[in-house]
């Protein structure tokens, strides 16, 4: 139960009730088909009502849901022959970012992504998906490798943010992210970005400059966490829900602001309810777009990428 989201509770409760009735009807051979039909109708309406009107704050909850699939799960579903490569050849191997080579249908690719843990132990290893500088530098090393061997790069974005600690500062968190932004904007091979969960600020952006950027429907992407914003605005992190409402962090908002190109639909309630389906949709999207991108001259590819990031911003 603790894994369920607050706003889904009425649905779960009703589903349980229907289940009980069905069981009772069967065991006691009582005909409750009419009642059950009515309730199922009600359930459907409720689902429509709830899932079609998910608030930004509810999306934040879905994006952070502990059952929400992580990068390695998508990699397993979407690619074949994934071989993980470790380390930045410099300081360390950061488990909050994973990467390696794999095959997408018939295309060799480099796959990189933030990696959250699936349980407490795993989360400690993964630092809850919050990378240190060596994570960004590993990613860059693998991107340059991809460039050298002409492999498109697929990025999965899912982080609360780059880690804000003493050592991260000391080893140049800012420099590492900045360098990725610059190098990614000039990387001579296609880059496709999929935001699968939390797109947390600079920590997300450091893996997100690309030719195509899509978001899963219930993922989020923002300059600061709702908690962070509310504590700055109102000195009260508990007003995060209110902050989420104003900050425009949903996939729909980002599409409207022309920051992303595409929203990939999720099943009602979120991807964790049907990973296969969502993986299939991502795969199809990647395949379609890669084949378009591979047709471009490098120069055109880079010009388009530049234009894409160049045009973002609203002023008068």
């Amino acid at each position: 139960m603790s894994n369920n989201l607050e706003f889904e509770k009425p649905i779960i409760e009703l589903e349980n009730k229907i289940g009980e009735l069905e069981k009772f009807s069967k065991e006691n051979q009582v005909d409750l088909s009419n009642e059950i039909k009515i309730l199922k109708n009600k359930l459907n309406n409720m689902k429509n009502e709830i899932y079609e009107n998910i608030t930004p704050w509810q999306k934040v909850k879905i994006a952070r849901h502990k059952e929400r699939p992580t990068t390695l799960e998508y990699i397993e579903k979407i690619f074949t022959d994934f071989i993980e490569f470790h380390g930045d050849r410099n300081y360390g191997d950061d488990n909050a970012i994973v990467g390696g080579i794999a095959i997408l249908e018939d295309t060799p690719v480099t796959v990189i992504g933030h990696q959250k843990g699936k349980d407490t132990k795993d989360n400690i290893k993964r630092n809850f998906g919050m990378p240190h500088p060596e994570g960004y530098r590993k990613a860059l090393r693998l991107m340059k490798q991809a460039e050298k061997f002409n492999r498109p790069v697929i990025m999965f974005v899912d982080t609360p943010g780059a880690y804000c600690g003493l050592e991260a500062e000391q080893r140049g968190q800012g420099e590492a992210i900045a360098t990725n932004l610059l190098k990614m904007s000039g990387l001579k091979t296609p880059i496709l970005v999929v935001v699968i969960g939390e797109g947390g600020s600079g920590g997300a952006l450091g893996l997100s400059i690309g030719d195509r950027i899509c978001m899963l429907e219930h993922s989020i992407y923002s300059v600061i966490s709702p908690e962070g914003l509310s504590s700055i605005l109102w000195k009260d992190a508990s007003l995060a829900e209110k902050a989420a409402d104003i900050m425009k962090l949903t996939s729909k908002d980002l599409l409207d602001l022309k920051v992303i190109d595409k929203i990939i639909k999720e099943p009602p309630g979120g991807t964790h309810k049907d990973l296969d389906l969502v993986s299939e949709n991502i795969k199809k999207y990647l395949n379609d777009e890669i084949s378009k991108l591979l047709k471009l001259e490098k120069k055109e590819l880079l010009n388009n990428r530049y234009k894409k990031v160049r045009e973002i911003g609203i002023y008068k």
């Binding site: 780059a162 880690y163 804000c164 600690g165 003493l166 991260a168 500062e169 000391q170 080893r171 140049g172 968190q173 800012g174 420099e175 992210i177 900045a178 360098t179 932004l181 610059l182 190098k183 904007s185 000039g186 600020s201 600079g202 952006l205 450091g206 997100s208 400059i209 992407y221 923002s222 300059v223 600061i224 914003l229 700055i232 104003i246 900050m247 425009k248 962090l249 908002d253 980002l254 602001l257 920051v259 990428r305 530049y306 990031v309 160049r310 973002i312 911003g313 609203i314 002023y315 008068k316």
Partner: protein, 300 residues
């Protein structure tokens, strides 16, 4: 003259600064002056508490005459210090922030920032000469919403870089920023990518970019153009970091060591090429540009 009259005297009971952290240290003094006059003429050094005539500070390149503390410099004053007299041509001076997210109170804040800083945004860009070497210069204005970067700052920097590419000029950016401007949400974040991409083009053209880090350089600015200089200079003791000190202390639940995230620390950690005192900055920038422009003539 008023200046000569008040020099060296302390009028310390009066609140001459909004910052209350330091007012406790100040000794009482009999001579009291009206607040309104005070605030116009005097200010207090945040480091040593010395009461200083604003006019003196300005003459001293915005440093405290007693302890050498560096006050933040308004963008236009910085430009005057760096460029040869009357060589500055400003770019895009009318570009203004809109409120794309309809963020509550943003318009009001912008208005207040303009009143305070006398600038329409947190950056001034343009071109001019440094001892005769033509250069594109961007100077952030810390007095405008803490030098935060929204669409306008990103756009003005990007345009300035593109202009430098077009004219084959070097670029210098004076950084002073609290980071991305949250009132423009994701659009602010994306300015990091935009400015970095423009710098990549500048780099492809082999035009030099010098980043000068001044107090404070943090957040999204540190994680983009500030750290991308071919050469990165810093003023002494400037706060430079990705995360702000308070955020880090909250995360790690301990106080930060003395000197952490200051220029000297960054240099020791390998991220700053050179710390240059304010009074030598123009000369040092000139020499670096001189050596780089020699190179470009030589090999083209």
């Amino acid at each position: 003259m008023l200046k000569a009259l008040f020099r060296k005297k302390k009028y310390a009971t009066v609140s001459v600064d909004n910052d209350n952290n330091y007012s406790n240290n100040i000794k009482k003094n009999e001579n009291k002056i009206q607040d309104d006059i005070d605030n116009k003429l005097w200010t207090k050094c945040k480091n040593c508490g010395e009461i200083l005539l604003k006019e003196d500070i300005k003459e001293d390149l915005y440093t405290c005459g007693k302890c050498n503390y560096y006050f933040r410099i308004p963008a236009r004053e910085r430009i005057n210090m760096i460029f040869d007299k009357d060589t500055f041509t400003e770019y895009d001076k009318d570009l203004k922030a809109s409120n794309p997210l309809e963020f509550p109170e943003y318009d009001k804040k912008l208005k207040k920032a303009t009143d305070k800083s006398k600038e329409v945004e947190a950056i001034v860009t343009g071109e001019g000469d440094i001892k005769g070497i033509k250069t594109v210069l961007c100077v952030m204005e810390a007095n405008f919403m803490m030098g935060s970067m929204g669409s306008v700052v990103g756009e003005k920097i990007t345009r300035a870089i593109e202009k430098a590419i077009e004219k084959k000029l070097p670029v210098i950016i004076f950084c002073a920023s609290g980071g991305a401007r949250m009132q423009e949400g994701i659009l602010s974040l994306m300015q990091m990518g935009k400015t970095s991409a423009a710098l990549n083009r500048l780099s492809d053209e082999k035009l030099p970019f010098i980043s000068v880090l001044t107090d404070p350089t943090t957040g999204g600015v540190t994680a983009s153009f500030a750290m991308l200089g071919d050469i990165i200079l810093a003023e002494p003791k400037a706060l430079i970091g990705f995360a702000g000190p308070r955020v880090i202390e909250q995360t790690i639940r301990q106080t930060l060591p003395e000197g952490f995230q200051r220029s000297e620390f960054l240099k020791e950690k390998g991220f700053v090429d050179k710390i240059v005192k304010r009074k030598f900055l123009k000369e040092k920038l000139y020499k670096i540009l001189y050596i780089h422009t020699m190179g470009s003539e030589r090999y083209e």
